[in-house]
Symmetry: D2
């Protein structure tokens, strides 16, 4: 049949490309080539050879398991070899393009695509032949990301990893699992380790977050990485939107009776795999959890976060240092400087509030990076998901980190399923921050205040 | 960081490309665009838009579930729309190539790659966002393969499906499961339906193949397609290499006691998903099963198939019709013609044997297709896996199919782990059919016979 | 401590009792006693000895596995040995009673109890020490029930089995599992085999009963007998109470859309284990399924059976044969006799209906066995569960069995959770058959008819 | 049929007996009796009534869940009510005995047995009707054991619990599960809590005991109590028999490579459920684990414990205080008195060793309780299982507990499958302590020493 021929031709193109690369490996390997003594980069070449077709699983297992026993420098050397020796050939590309250019039909396009795709991608795909290697590849990219600052050329290899991981860790392949006190200890241990927002101090602390009837934790898993959560979210079921984190994490608190729960609060969301940086799951996780909670707990009508504002204080401090800003008056500077003590009396708090609230609103609504983006990364995440900036909470997180990063401020983002699409589009297309009127008013109050303060 | 910027730029390239395609969808959709009334092809465009980022799971679910309710003609229309409206842009490719050509660095290569990759691939990836859609996409490609003869241009879309499926159904993601009498009925039902070599007549027939202690059945599954075996193999544990299929499938037979099993016989291997045609699993399946059986049953030392020879009779008949051949004498023609009756007496059998055996050897060892390949597809599969052609069995399958396809002949291929790599390389590189000396002798006997017969 | 002493003393009583029985076994066993050559009854004695304490699991496994290889006559011999050799000792009972009688305190009562309990019970408990033996013991009782008619003295041993099984198969230990098309084939095979009401003809027939969205099947399992359903019920979800069985079992029928289901119809309930005869599960099964269905399908408001009337025709025929009855007139006899043909024309049906309906009502409401019980065993089961006799359906089951047993009649029993307790009590305490007014009216109609017919 | 009649008669006897007890409940309940306001003891009576037959599950659930919310005093009151109100009736027993005595046939025996069995047992069986209640009943017996010292009459009820639990928790119903780092946290938490020999200090400590490749932990579970281990054993795989506990529990130690493991060391065995006191599992657990380990790890050839000697120091101190003993000389007393300091220099140790070793041997081999039993409870357990006292280890456990209970001594018991039966029989029948010759020699050395010391 015509088309099988077409497909085979294509495969042959890829195979041919690979084969030219494995000449060295062949020479080394010969009939007596023993994979347990061959250098790793040669083994990678062997993977693309005819012998690789016959013994791909064995070679892939050997490469990944030996890689894991290497020192950092050796690992980086292997990654560089992968990056450089398995790139696409410019000459081949030129030839393929010129054929395509003269007759841009489907067949010539397919050949061009096969030529432009770097053989690195096929190496990575074949490294995944051995069951269990997916995890090893994720850790390999973790090394790669560590090496990038010193070896910027690895961006090419990283692009290949990212391309494949986006396909492999596609939402349709992920599985949502609830994490609770009956989950395996080896999973729970990772929840403790990976929690990035409000550190989990101990197994008792963990238990308080997952066992009570008014607490939930959900994670995405990939079937080929079954003991490793990819991302997880911690949820508190409450009777109202929370204005501070302490009551949620408190050791002693009343458990909310089931029917009183009206509000699901996403108070922590953490990525677990550095090697999957840039592959986005959070958006899907939150929406899936909202869907599941709505179905399971019909009394819930509000889905809201309690989120940190990690860039706020750095921005405020920069504004204060900037004598040309119109956002901060000298009086403000004095109030903020006074705050820097350990304890603040109520009067100071009130002063601070008058200064910080409009700054916080401005930080979200008006301040932008030089390239015009919203400054706060957490805001970019939730607004990008289609959430609305719902409420500003001063003095909401008095932990060392909360104070250091954001003068203790936190915010609520609201996930309102009916307006998520529109919110997302306003943010993605026009860069508009969708916020409640209360947030906008907080900004206004500041204008008032500023005009007062600047005669 | 530089590299994040690099990656983002790349994503933007892809997004930009998609966005120009969705202008029509946007016009249609507007704020009030309701996905349940929008044409399917517009929905596919919407998937690539900003709204698709926010609601990809919902849109993907809508497309695949509506597609499944379409008639054949409408399905083909959708596939053609997908094929034609989401192709890569030749103009964009030319621009990207010219930039790359003037400075072939990593960044320009990445941009070229992103431009050459057809947006169809991103559509397919996003169609997979909704859990459960993987199966729908496999069935979509099944439709596509059906449509290909009438619409050869769909080869381009098929290439995209095949590229993605090769990545998604990578060996590392597959799970081997034993199939036995405690397996779910819905899986067993599919084993009955998909068996392609020796049809399973009934549930009782199935039971005879999977329940006895000297029978095994294994299948590969993909986690996102959990109720659908991808490929399965049926195994008989025996005390010797079998020369015929009937004793294996017999209703009444003695069960072999555990310790007597020395030989694992792969007597049937069937692909289950037409939509995964061209994605190869069989090689991995057999090797994994060999590995597992060796570990579980230490008495096993031989791993061999009992395989059909589906192209043999057609080839013999063509040779007979060809008056210029030197392979068949008139005496042979007479013997074969006499065979075509229903029953053959022992003497005829002996004659037939004298004629057929050397022809069978020649069919494997010397006869080739016009393009120089081994004729028999089953042979290509096992030899390509690195197996050896071990024994020729005349009068091994007297079923209607066995007689019609191969004059009742079957063969054994031997999987000898120590020589698989070398066998594969000899076959893949030099086209050499690795065969036992008995097979070669069968060929020789014929030569003798022919020289005898042609004075 | 006092109480430990008390308990130990008790155990010693039991041990002492056992020990006197094992003298023969000891003699045989000695140091060289090999359990694989010892007679089964001696092994049973050995189970109660000191050696039995050390090796109970091994001995129990040996006894049950050897028992299963015995012929029927040998099995009965073993059961008789068990029955006769491990009875309580009348002399010991007399002694224990006289001590108790002179001072009926707790200690003396405990000793009396331990003396009255036959050592057979301890033998059976110890036979259960080996994992997997529970199933063997259930089959042993099946043999025992077969042997009872010829060996009425085995009633004593049967009493011990029944006592232990009531405790072991207590409702609290049973697990309800839904049976559907994803259940293991080995379970489904047993559903086919054990269906006792409306025979399942084939795997396709089974599938029609468990796969469609408007069908359910549930079974009780015991954890120690995990592949064996104990009892199961088949349920049809319908929009109304059914008056006949054929539409439920039809090969071609429309599947009811989810929200239209208002009525759960229990149309078949079958016990699976003959060895558990007399241990009642059906009552618990129906109530649990009602509870589960109510929770899962909120549109359901009616829970009703469609039940056979297995004793009806025999009773009618006996009445007809009885010339002194006042229930049947000669005209009735003629009508019924005319019915006995294969096909009945509508007019005959109408006549038959006039005769049969009041007889059917009377069969439930007035006819009784010599000892005063309701005649129909199915009626006793459902009325004993607290159901109400809701509707009489003539011409509801034209299968051979339906005609032969009940002139094709079936009835509906209604499970109304609010009145179950009261209904049960009226039936259990006063023997009152709780029936709908329609059923009572059917009786009345007959009276009228009879007075008409008897001038 | 005769026998069904026989069985029914028997059931009627039981029911009759129950019914007379529920008269009061009936009066209270009537048609309007609401189970949620009825006193618990009345509910227990209701369980035995006709209404209890119809609604047993509901009533049982109500009783157990309300019981769990009671204060201790109320719980004891309920247990006393159960004990006293549901006892067997002496008058009924006298009648049943006199019938039996005049004609001791099977039927009369059965009736006597049914009359002697206290209705309490049927109450407990019916309390188990509600799924999940088994755990509640185990905790109820825990309360009962707490109440026993103050209410010795509860021994009767305890006898009933024990009788039923022995049947319900029969070995054949228990499931062995390996506990490791992938076990649910709620199970692991209980391992930490219930460890009774060498306390588990933290989750890290737990992890060191179950995660390394040379450590194992196994527990018995009952299917109706699925989150609660009943008993568990911790095992270290080693290359030799250990002489001290510290190296096994050390934070830093080398993990033994798989093939070097020759010895499985049972270094801790703990019962988990106080409410199951007196129901023995340990014997079965150790033997099952030995069987499983032998199958899984063929290099293992030795199965040995490292066990505490909890009664040793109390016995030594009593001997020292006893001026008439011939076991301890004044010189010995001085050595032991010197030991009581915190640290001991090597020379003291040697002296101590000379004194303690023969005392330890004598403690096992010669010292006995007034009733003639071996003093050490751990020794009674292992010797009763058929193990052999293999080696005495002085200075093996310097924990506070080890020193306080046993002057730091520990011992090894050897489980040699070939001699378990014989060992058990020698111990159970003749009270003989089977010990290695090394242990016997340690005794002898003392004799020598003593004779030396006593001119």
């Amino acid at each position: 049949m015509l088309n099988i021929g077409f497909l085979n031709e294509l495969l042959n193109t890829i195979a041919h490309q690979g084969r030219s690369l494995v000449d060295r490996a062949r020479g080394l390997a010969g009939d007596a080539g023993r994979i347990d003594t061959m250098p790793l980069a040669d083994l990678a070449a062997l993977l693309l050879s005819a012998r690789g077709e016959a013994s791909g699983v064995v070679i892939a297992r050997e490469i990944v398991s030996r890689y894991q026993r290497l020192e950092t420098a050796q690992r980086h050397a292997f990654l560089l070899a992968l990056n450089n020796s398995f790139a696409a050939s410019p000459d081949d590309i030129r030839v393929a393009f010129s054929i395509y250019d003269s007759e841009p039909n489907a067949r010539n396009h397919a050949r061009l695509l096969a030529t432009v795709e770097p053989p690195r991608q096929e190496v990575i795909r074949r490294l995944n032949l051995a069951p269990g290697n997916t995890g090893g590849l994720v850790r390999m990219r973790e090394d790669l990301l560590d090496a990038l600052p010193d070896h910027p050329e690895l961006a090419a290899l990283d692009n290949d990893f990212r391309h494949l991981f986006s396909s492999w860790f596609n939402r349709g392949f992920l599985v949502l699992r609830r994490i609770d006190w009956s989950s395996p200890a080896q999973i729970l241990e990772k929840i403790i380790r990976y929690e990035a927002v409000h550190a989990i101090e101990s197994w008792d602390d963990l238990r308080r977050r997952i066992e009570p009837a008014d607490r939930r934790c959900y994670a995405f898993f990939h079937p080929a990485l079954i003991d490793e959560p990819l991302i997880f979210v911690e949820v508190a079921l409450m009777a109202e939107r929370p204005a501070a984190i302490e009551p949620i994490l408190a050791e002693k608190r009343d458990i909310l009776a089931g029917p009183q729960a009206t509000t699901a609060v996403f108070y922590s969301i953490s990525n677990c795999q550095k090697g999957l940086a840039g592959i986005s799951f959070g958006n899907f996780l939150i929406k899936q959890v909202v869907e599941d909670l709505r179905r399971d707990i019909p009394t819930l009508d509000t889905f809201v976060t309690l989120s940190p504002v990690p860039g706020f204080r750095r921005w405020v401090d920069a504004e204060c240092a900037n004598r040309t800003t119109t956002f901060v008056s000298d009086a403000d500077r004095a109030v903020l400087a006074a705050l820097d003590g350990e304890e603040n009396d109520p009067e100071d708090m009130e002063d601070a509030s008058r200064v910080l609230l409009p700054l916080l609103a401005r930080y979200f609504l008006e301040a932008r990076t030089p390239s015009g983006r919203v400054i706060d990364p957490v805001a970019r995440f939730h607004l990008g998901n289609g959430a609305r900036l719902e409420r500003l909470n001063l003095f909401a997180d008095f932990s060392a980190k909360g104070w250091r990063d954001s003068y203790a401020a936190m915010v609520n983002y609201l996930y309102d399923l009916k307006s998520i699409e529109e919110n997302h589009e306003r943010f993605a297309t026009h860069g508009e921050v969708v916020a409640s009127s209360a947030v906008s008013r907080a900004l206004g109050s500041r204008r008032l205040h500023k005009s007062d303060a600047t005669p």
